[in-house]
Amino acid sequence: MRSFVSVVLALFAVGAAAQQTVNMPIVIELSGAGAVSGTNFRDGAVLAIDEINAKGGILGRKIVAPQSDTQSNPGISRAQVQKAIDSDPYVILGPVFSGSVKVNMVLAQQAEVPQITGAEAAEITQMGNPYIFRTSFGQQMSMPKIANYIRDGLKAKTVAVLWVNNDFGKGGRDTFTKEMAARGIKVVADVPTESGQVDFAADVVKLKGANADAIFVYTNEEESARFLREARKQGVTKPLIGETTLLGQKVIDMAGDAANGARGHVGLSADAPVPAVLAWKQKFLKRFGYVPDHNGIKGYTGVYAVKYATGKIGKFDRKLLAKTLHGLTITPKQEPGILMETTWDAHGDIDRVSFLAEVVDGKQKIVQTLPKLGK
């Protein structure tokens, strides 16, 4: 019914395109535990929307993007997504927290509204929902790459895991452990930490005691920074391996010297050695006054993906948009705003090049570029 209305509206819109707008609500974590990621995502999306609007919008329609804060609370995120759906949106952007996404992706699916999420938990794209799309690697994509690096790059036989005990950290840890088992690498220490934890002394003691060949760190940015400082303080010498949340520029800024030597896999990075990404970073910094993390890229590229796919269809049709995005590859040549060549698979997961990086002298240095999986 709703999509029928929107089709009618879309057809009608051809005549009155100049006055028409397209509604892309942003439902995101602007307060509570997810505020950092959410704010990045939001600002990334806003940056893209303003650029697109400045150039005349999508198919001649300006984007309007009302923002609503989920307070990092799934119950409230459900209310806000409901509100967004009530306003007859074209696409919903956000949220980032996997828990929140799991609540409201069902609503978006029922209303047949495509949802561009920032969440990375593996199961989201495995529930058969044709309206959910990621803009970054899910954990089931990134963990094998890290696992390979630990086996081939480090030749480690044992590994210790430090993870943050929320859905993000737990999901990553579970996937990682599975990948380790598949490669015959033993997990000798398994250390959960609290979200927002400030004192990592005991955890570092435990990790040191395990004496593993490598330590895999999967916590949010600030905790990573605090951990790095504590690890430096206690003189940990084993390689510290991580994802974007360990190697990001933000972590490096916060951890100072202590970040040097940390290395690992970066699925999506504002520090990627891709000119388009670096230029984007500068643009973002100039506009918002802070250095974005990968969530900024998620929001930004998500909006551009919608723009490109819509342009390809030639009209505003939510169902068709979802269908088009599945299996779609967008290259920066076709759409500069996508920054890097990106492919969506049938589940809404993405495929993209990624990087192995190391922190050297307070800078993230890309050691190796890993190709897309699909190639």
Partner: protein
């Protein structure tokens, strides 16, 4: 007389409210009804019996997890209600024991510890609660052929439960128990010398308040249709406490207003975008500065100033 009329008007308004609202508004109203139930429970413990509890949110959580675990296994929601009431009553009873030994902020922190413990158990005991992943796909109930799947139907279901709970709580407060609870709050030593079994009433106040929290939880799970531990962390308990105090502790209709402030006010303030939570906080602080006995206290004060003949008292 006036009061009865006001209640009637309010009831009609609540039944009429969702018509003309979009699902979002109906969802919020349903959430309000659920939170009101939990707040009524806390009001019993705190407002009437004077026992501070920072664990009410945990009972909502226990109720919600019972509902989620049972209904996703195909059991009816009615069974979840029964199980939640029994279990929360029992746990609430046990939680009441520290209250016999300590009071005020010490009791606050015993209950706070309990709240943290419940959160940790919900998060860490993955075999039971699915841990941080949460439980999704919680079905909404069908009652004698009436499916509450649609937002409107589910709202009326919540409203029905709220009415039942309110009626039961009202009955109790007007029974000798209500007087005994008040006596417990105002002067437990004197109450005891008048034959009031303070121990049993204290435990009862905790247990019943907790059971109502459990009922709210059983409704919360199918309302949101996804639950995870952080929703029931300390924040919810503090929020419920805020509802009770802001509405007017120890006043029957306090929780109704308090829940409205807590659930609906932030939504109304969203026009201010990033500032809305700050405005909300300022509102709460101002309200408490000018009327520490809550919104209903404000009403009572207004009435008093109209009727200067009644004796002023402290």
């Amino acid at each position: 007389m006036m009061k009865k009329l006001a209640i009637l008007v309010a009831a009609v308004a609540l039944i009429a409210a969702p018509f003309g609202l979009k699902p979002y508004g109906i969802y919020l109203l349903s959430l309000w009804a659920v939170m009101t139930i939990a707040a009524i429970g806390l009001n019993l413990t705190l407002g009437y019996a004077g026992q501070i509890s920072l664990a009410q949110g945990s009972f909502v959580g226990i109720g919600a997890y019972i509902a989620a675990l049972l209904t996703t296994q195909g059991w009816p929601l009615g069974l979840a209600f029964a199980a939640a009431i029994v279990l929360c009553f029992a746990i609430g009873w046990l939680l009441g024991y520290p209250a016999l030994r300590v009071a005020h902020h010490y009791l606050a922190f015993v209950t706070l510890s309990f709240a943290t413990l419940v959160f940790l158990v919900l998060r860490n005991e993955e075999w039971l609660t699915k841990g941080v992943y949460g439980i999704s796909g919680i079905p909404r109930p069908t009652l004698a052929g009436w499916s509450t799947k649609a937002p409107l139907d589910f709202y009326f279901f919540c409203l029905l439960i709220l009415a039942l709970v309110a009626a039961a709580a009202g009955w109790m407060i007007r029974s000798p128990w209500g007087r005994a609870f008040t006596a417990l709050r105002e002067n437990p030593i004197r109450a005891s010398s008048l034959g009031v079994d303070t121990r049993r009433y204290t435990l009862m106040a905790f247990a019943i308040g907790s059971a109502l929290g459990g009922i709210a939880g059983v409704l919360y799970a199918p309302l949101v249709q996804f639950i995870e531990p952080t929703a029931f962390a300390l924040g919810l308990s503090l929020n419920l406490l805020l509802m009770v105090i802001v509405g007017g502790a120890g006043r029957f209709f306090g929780p109704f207003l308090g829940a409205a402030v807590s659930v609906l006010l932030p939504e109304w303030l969203r026009f201010s975008e990033g500032l809305y939570l700050m405005l909300y906080a300022v509102f709460v602080m101002l309200l408490l500065a000018f009327c520490p006995s809550g919104l209903l206290g404000l009403g009572a004060r207004a009435r008093k100033s109209w009727k200067p003949s009644s004796k002023s008292a402290n």
